[in-house]
Subunit: 128 residues, 2 copies
Amino acid sequence: MEAVVSEDVCTKWSETLRVYHTTSCELESELQERHELGLSEFEVLKILSRSCSKGGGKAKMKELEAEMYLSQSALSRTVTRLEKDGLVTRATCDFDRRAMFLMLTPAGQERYEAAQPTYMGVLRAHFA
Amino acid sequence: MEAVVSEDVCTKWSETLRVYHTTSCELESELQERHELGLSEFEVLKILSRSCSKGGGKAKMKELEAEMYLSQSALSRTVTRLEKDGLVTRATCDFDRRAMFLMLTPAGQERYEAAQPTYMGVLRAHFA
DNA sequence: TGACATCCAATGCACGTGCATGTAAGTTTC
DNA sequence: GAAACTTACATGCACGTGCATTGGATGTCA
């Protein structure tokens, strides 16, 4: 009884591990090879694209952080990389000068739209 | 139709991501805090413990590599750390002197048996 | 208003990982 | 048996990450 339950959770975990690993590896390499984007960079573009379309073109760092599985420091550096590539711009918030707004540049929007089908293709291949 | 399928695979992926992230983070921190073991270190001990009980006390690096989601180099260094902590020992194979046998030390066996309930506890909390 | 706590983002640092390469041992081909 | 190839593991290196800290801005309370 106990043993059955134990075996069951182990199986579930190793299944999760397998799916996560194969999918994230393929996402990573496909996005890198075809669009020069890491997975977390793509995720930032994805969230920005979504919130920009309804939020008037900007999102706060804190909002991004809450939606991603990434530490504050890692997110900060990811955004730095994206900014260096000209895909997003940072802007200080007028009302709270501690906070930063992020905005997709046209190049960022374009890059995201080019990469999105690749992303979806991998997901479909693994989950459909 | 297309949209529904798309939404579905996205949901599945983000669910996988969530489960993987929360579980692996908790495994990592619990194992580290209570037993001074990283997750991949624990995984090596786990596989060794299993194959030792039936295989006469040893396993080859290649076998480990095949059973883990870890590159050859990462595995090599993980084993180096375990060896430095006195939990496993390396031994060259007599028949193929390229290959390495790994063996759990008594301390390694002990550490694994102490950590295993912690590991199972986390899995049960997330999957049961 | 002044002192203190809280919050946001950036950065120094240590660490684990993957890729590419090195080294040594085994295998194949002629 | 020598040369070319393959296999097993270790290691140099670059990179992304998390933790802890810093610096600056905001909020709170007396």
